[in-house]
């Protein structure tokens, strides 16, 4: 999505020597205007909003039993009192889809915010310290990146019985290194820029430079990684539940609904598989679209400088 450039006010129609003059909005090189005009970003946001309404407001309107087992109603095809049918425990699939979505979305947002804050600060501090401290801090990050997140998640979930809070903590612990690497690279590039050096000469403390210059200028990086983190953590939880290592019942998420997916397909209950698959794909796709649109905006803006 190409964004329109903002011409400097006061010089309409005049293109000065050296190309078009563009304004920059504060320290943030991520334009709200560009974001609002991006069809992809807005489309993604609309879908996310609908999903939030579906999961959190839906159960208030569509009232159904989502926990009690009733084998008389097991494996009912869609129709009648159950628009999407029932699963092998006789639980209404539409109702469970809503409740399951709550944990998926809560997890996604919580992990994205927490891991972005930790990763951005760690990366910025490491990049600013430089030298041996940076090398040491980065080897810790490399270590966490060397072992696949999902593998570590499987190990810990087989050691302890997890609930939503511990999974959020765990995923945060495992996903901040990705943000950290990117932010550090940006900080290293920023360190040699004139405005940072000017600030140092003027006697700014490291803390001031960190929060006034580094963090705002890496904003575009961590807002993009945050949207991807939402998608990735929702996927990680669903994959964990799919493999039967998620939190125990009555916990519900979209992955849990797919645990018996292969068997359901062979036994002829496809309606027990498709709804969760569809919402999962829509959610992940929506967040990735927002992230990708933000990424495009950020890179087209930096290209215009």
């Amino acid at each position: 999505m190409q964004s329109e450039s903002v011409t400097a006010a006061g010089s309409p129609g005049v293109t000065p020597e050296g190309g078009e003059v563009t304004t920059r909005t504060g320290g943030r090189n991520l334009g709200l205007d560009d974001f609002l005009h991006s069809k992809r970003a807005m489309g993604g946001c609309a879908v996310v909003l609908l999903l939030v309404l579906f999961c959190f407001v839906g159960p208030l309107i569509y009232r159904t039993n989502t926990t009690a087992v009733n084998l008389n109603n097991a494996n009912l095809p869609p129709g009648g009192g159950h628009p999407l049918g029932t699963d092998e425990y006789g639980i209404d699939i539409l109702g469970r889809l809503m409740v399951g979505g709550q944990s998926s979305l809560e997890l996604g947002f919580a992990v994205a915010i927490a891991s972005t804050v930790i990763g951005a600060l760690y990366g910025a501090i490491s990049g600013m310290l430089g030298g041996i401290a940076d090398a040491f801090l980065m080897r810790i990050v490399d270590t966490l990146l060397a072992v696949p997140t999902f593998i570590l998640l499987l190990i810990v979930s087989s050691m302890f019985v997890l609930n939503l809070t511990t999974i959020i903590l765990l995923l945060t612990l495992l996903s901040w290194p990705y943000v950290c690497r990117l932010v550090r690279a940006q900080v290293l590039a920023l360190r040699s820029r004139e405005f940072v050096q000017a600030s140092t000469v003027m006697g700014s403390t490291r803390m001031r430079i960190l929060f006034r210059h580094m963090v705002p200028n890496t904003f575009n990086i961590f807002i993009v990684t945050a949207t991807f983190a939402v998608a990735d953590s929702i996927y990680a939880l669903s994959a964990l539940s799919f493999l039967g290592l998620g939190p125990p019942p009555p916990f519900a998420d979209w992955g849990t609904m797919l645990t018996d997916g292969v068997n359901d397909l062979f036994d002829g209950y496809p309606w027990e598989v498709y709804p969760a698959l569809v919402v999962l794909v829509i959610t992940v796709l929506a967040f990735r679209q927002i992230g990708d649109a933000l990424n495009d905006i950020a890179s087209s803006r930096s290209a215009r400088r």
């Binding site: 810790i140 072992v147 696949p148 593998i151 302890f160 493999l243 794909v281």
Partner: protein, 317 residues
């Protein structure tokens, strides 16, 4: 180049030590004690004390870590609780099978992804580019177990074309090929996940190269478009893919766990999943260590290969 190489090797060694510390910490996170896990809940305190003494579990943690490193370096990863076999044996059996599965699927992903990215780059900004990008983006965003389930639903359940799971009782690598049709679905599922990444990196790398002066020179010289694409564009644009190949190893491994669990492929992923379900910690931690080291070595190899293949990098650092 030598200095850069030494630095990279030094970093890699540090990360391998880091991975060992990580797995060591995980060993000690295990709830309950190792003695209870091995001897059973009814073991007498005396037996537990003897066990702890024999395996050095009553020593200070730094000493235990030293012993752990010593064991690992001698190829001793402990004994599987579930199988009663050395972990190294279990892993050694399965590692080559994964090399086959991951090798074939990554090769397939490259064969599809590289030309796809090139095609997108040549047509970038057009509808064709958007269609290809959109398709792969959707496939990439869709969870891999979902793709596996849909493929099973269509190919195995509906059309009965390919088996949905691997035959059991395979003991050798050759055994993997007794029923080649069973390999198709796991390979395809793993490949789908990598293609999107490869093609998108290939696309952006090729777009960058297309804007270079040497492309204009090649055109001005009157070279055929085919010659320009294969000799000039492809060769230069494909280089960054090597780095991506190294970096995407953890993702491929994670994907392999899910694909192997679904398709019953007898590799490390299936072993890992079964160990996770049966709380078989020695196997999980041994496998984690191997995966971590493989990732570090893979990244190092990618960096070295990049330096060897690209003279600009070789002389710059």
């Amino acid at each position: 180049m030598t200095r850069y190489l030494m630095q990279r090797i030094g970093q890699s060694v540090a990360v391998v030590i880091g991975v060992m510390i990580l797995t060591f910490i995980l060993v000690h996170l295990e709830p309950g004690s190792t003695a209870r896990a091995v001897l059973g809940l009814k073991a007498t305190p005396a037996k537990v004390a003897i066990f702890n003494n024999t395996y050095g579990l009553n020593r200070p943690l730094p000493v235990q870590f030293w012993l752990y490193c010593d064991h690992v370096l001698h190829g001793n990863f402990g004994i599987s609780y579930a199988a009663g076999q050395p972990v190294s044996t279990l892993i050694a059996q399965r590692l080559p099978r994964d090399a086959v599965l991951i090798g074939i699927s990554t090769l397939l992903a490259l064969i599809i992804g590289v030309p796809m990215g090139l095609y997108q780059a040549i047509h970038h900004g057009t509808v064709r580019d958007d269609i290809v990008a959109g398709t792969w983006f959707t496939l990439y965003s869709a969870p891999d177990f979902m793709e596996a389930l849909l493929l099973i639903a269509i190919v195995s359940v509906h059309f009965h074309l390919l088996p949905a799971s691997f035959p059991g009782g395979i003991t050798s690598i050759g055994g993997l090929f007794t029923d080649p049709s069973a390999l198709v679905l796991p390979v395809v599922v793993l490949a789908i996940n990598s293609v999107a990444g490869f093609s998108q990196y290939m696309r952006s790398s090729a777009i960058e190269e297309l804007a270079q002066d040497y492309m204009r020179t090649a055109r001005a010289k009157g070279l055929s478009e085919r010659m320009i694409l294969t000799r000039h564009l492809l060769r230069n644009a494909v280089l960054p893919i090597i780095t991506i190949l190294g970096l995407s190893l953890p993702n491929i491994v994670a994907g392999a766990v899910i694909a192997e669990a679904i398709f019953n492929f007898p590799g490390m992923g299936l072993l890992f999943w079964q160990s996770a379900l049966s709380h078989d910690f020695p196997v999980m931690l041994g496998a984690t260590l191997i995966i971590g080291v493989a990732t570090v070595v893979g990244n190092l190899a990618a960096d070295i290969a990049y330096g060897v293949l690209d003279p600009r990098i070789r002389h710059a650092v």
